[in-house]
Symmetry: C3
Subunit: 307 residues, 3 copies
């Protein structure tokens, strides 16, 4: 890792926007070496990670904990009930100051947008945002990028974002990050769940082409990467309209027949009905690999924070 | 451990029936050496165990976690609330595939019979069944056998199974395992809670003699081992009938007066009223020792899985 | 540490009263060396701490877990739901005997006064009381003393105890401990929440002067240490009377203007309205430092228990 990187690197990772393209590439390269086993397994010996999850996000929590363990470090956790009683008992600022006294780094998941930024102002140790409401979740974006990079150069890809693009935080952050890599973005979402204007404007400022589509069959053949997000039943007026719409957004082996050979299919998980289990066996299905990549990517982030 | 063992050993431990007598004896021998301190305390250094407990079983979970720690490994846990939200959010198959990406081995506790077998089909890492509904719980059976072996040769013992033998999963598995060791099995249970025919047939096929009894005083003098299981209040029509019947199944110092000198008394715990606390001080009371034996037995299992 | 200390040291730490002045000073000295980094980070390698928290006390739990991790040891935890199901399922005595088989030391938090003493009678490993109802919480008292000692010699200080002194367990234990160090104790509390007679008698027997005050402005200038405790809304007949009274007990920068230069301000946390956040920036505000001191103090306790 270059000296210039070390100097510009932020002490906290709150948003993917805190990182430039160069920083992102550096973390992905590190993750790649880690995935090949090229890391010291006692690098974080004696270090303590506090996982403060004020809403459940079991995959993120477990994979940060696994990442810390692989590097020889320890994690201390709140359980779900403790988290809710802590949140009732004192301000987030006080909790963060107290936990700063116990741990060397804090990973925070919180239901309120902006919570991680606030926490980083009160913390005396580095903070990683593991999702704050409709806000950011940078480690998810990094593992999404890493999974793309495993399959192809990230530059100038055609990516399809499918599903709930209004509330789907992971799609927003990924779209932003890909705008640094000159991607062309294709979108397909139910009416009312389109990409918000604020995101569109931001992508446009970065010079990124965003092409909305109406038909799944029209978009599939154009793509290098298809990123599917969860359609949440509670976003629809009733169960019937959910079922009616969801069936048009379901990925099946048939729908994928028109895809390019090298297409990869990603999903931040958990999935409900968005991807037919028969797709799991196809070579393009990379969502479980993507989830697994959370460990080396988070290991790379943790090593960077303790550098 | 012999070469032949290594070849036949299953990658998963789902049921005690996956193990032959030879395999069982090998694990018990390993556990015995471990209990004597003859094991490398960094054997599982860098390894990660995922404890997926979809119903509470605190003793089993804590003793697996202690076993992993004694060998230098790490554990990652779901908390109870996370487990229930995970179970609502996706299929067990998906959860198992995701967690396979984080951990080197999975210990699963699940309310549905057959869940562990299903999990082993989707996992990319070894799975140990830590209880699946009315199904199997092989580590419990191994620690029961280990505790017997500490006191006497397992072969050809007279064992009494007392209490709820219909729903008592631990009694079923132990009876099966002892049938490999030519035991004679004495049963005593409330009407309606007898050993099921399916289990009786299986024992008969293995050539095991099963002798039902009506009176506790009649059976005690015959036994080398008395295995008491919990009578659950909810199996009885009302509280009065529970109290009425439970008092006939309660082990007291008086009842044990007619026992052989070398009788040992086991219970999978927790106990409620089945054993008078005054019995705790008698030399035959081995149930806390039995619970403690969970650690070396599970250490032996974990070492075997990583061999 | 002197030989005489080693001989008199109790195997369990249930109450601060189990420790004499000499023992307390020895732990504080150890903690001080630990805080300077003078400890072997693998001192408790291979050791297992069981954290049995039957009521939430997240700070205490996390800082014991951090202390164990800093020394190379491992912790096994109950989650909140497991704890309540365990408590329903069996007696505390049985739980303690079982967990004694899994761990090398037990830290117990329990809602019932006397629970820790009972636990220590059934445990086969050392027990540390981490709070039992209205009873004791010795590690809190030790970290309070440690924080005082960082700022000044503990001997003969004038300390003010402010707030709910009737139910405030930490204030009771601290007052007792300071009576060993010839402190003069000033009290100020809402009517009905005064220091109980039993505590007053105990302090008097130890020759300690206790001076009740009526006005916060009258007491502040006299103090070397001000120890503020939480006023709990539920101790007051209604919300209005809470608000009315609490405002007279709120520490603000203005109120502190008459204080001695070297005054330090402590609070066991969490605080609600007792201390104005503007106070946080003043040099006298030591409550986050105090919370952080929980780690080296608990490390010193754990090392002592395993000595």
């Amino acid at each position: 890792m270059s000296e210039s990187f070390k100097k510009t690197y932020p002490f906290n990772i709150i948003s993917i926007k805190d990182l430039g393209r160069k920083e992102i590439e550096s973390i992905l390269d590190d993750a790649s070496r880690i995935a090949d086993g090229l890391y010291p397994d006692n690098a974080l010996n004696g270090k303590i990670l506090a996982l403060l999850f004020f809403e459940p996000s079991t995959r993120t929590r477990m994979s940060f904990e696994a990442a810390m363990a692989r590097l020889g470090g320890r994690s201390i956790n709140l359980d779900s009930i403790e988290a809710s009683s802590l949140a009732k008992g004192e301000t987030l600022a006080d909790t963060i100051r107290v936990v700063s006294g116990y741990a060397d780094i804090i990973v925070l998941r919180h239901p309120s947008e902006g919570a991680a930024r606030l926490a980083s102002e009160f913390a005396r140790v580095p903070v990683i945002n593991a999702g704050d409401g409709a806000g950011q979740h940078p480690s998810q974006t990094l593992l999404d990028l890493y999974t793309i990079k495993q399959a192809m150069p990230i530059d100038k890809i055609d990516i399809g974002l499918l599903g709930d693009l209004r509330y789907g935080r992971t799609a927003h952050s990924l779209a932003y990050a890909l705008s640094l890599f000159n991607a062309r973005i294709h979108t397909l979402s139910p009416r009312g769940l389109e990409l918000p204007d604020s995101i569109l404007n931001e992508l446009e400022e970065n010079g990124t082409e965003v092409i909305p589509h109406e038909e799944i069959n029209e978009v599939i053949p154009l793509l290098d990467v298809l990123y599917v997000t969860r359609l949440q039943r509670e976003r629809f007026p009733d169960s019937a309209s959910y079922v009616n719409i969801a069936k048009n957004f379901r990925i099946t082996p048939e729908i994928l027949e028109s895809a390019k050979d090298h297409l990869i299919l990603l999903h931040p998980l958990p999935r409900v009905d968005e991807i037919d289990p028969q797709v799991d066996e196809l070579p393009c299905a990379k969502y479980f690999e993507q989830s697994k990549n959370g460990v080396p990517v988070r290991m790379a982030m943790l090593m960077e924070m303790f550098r």
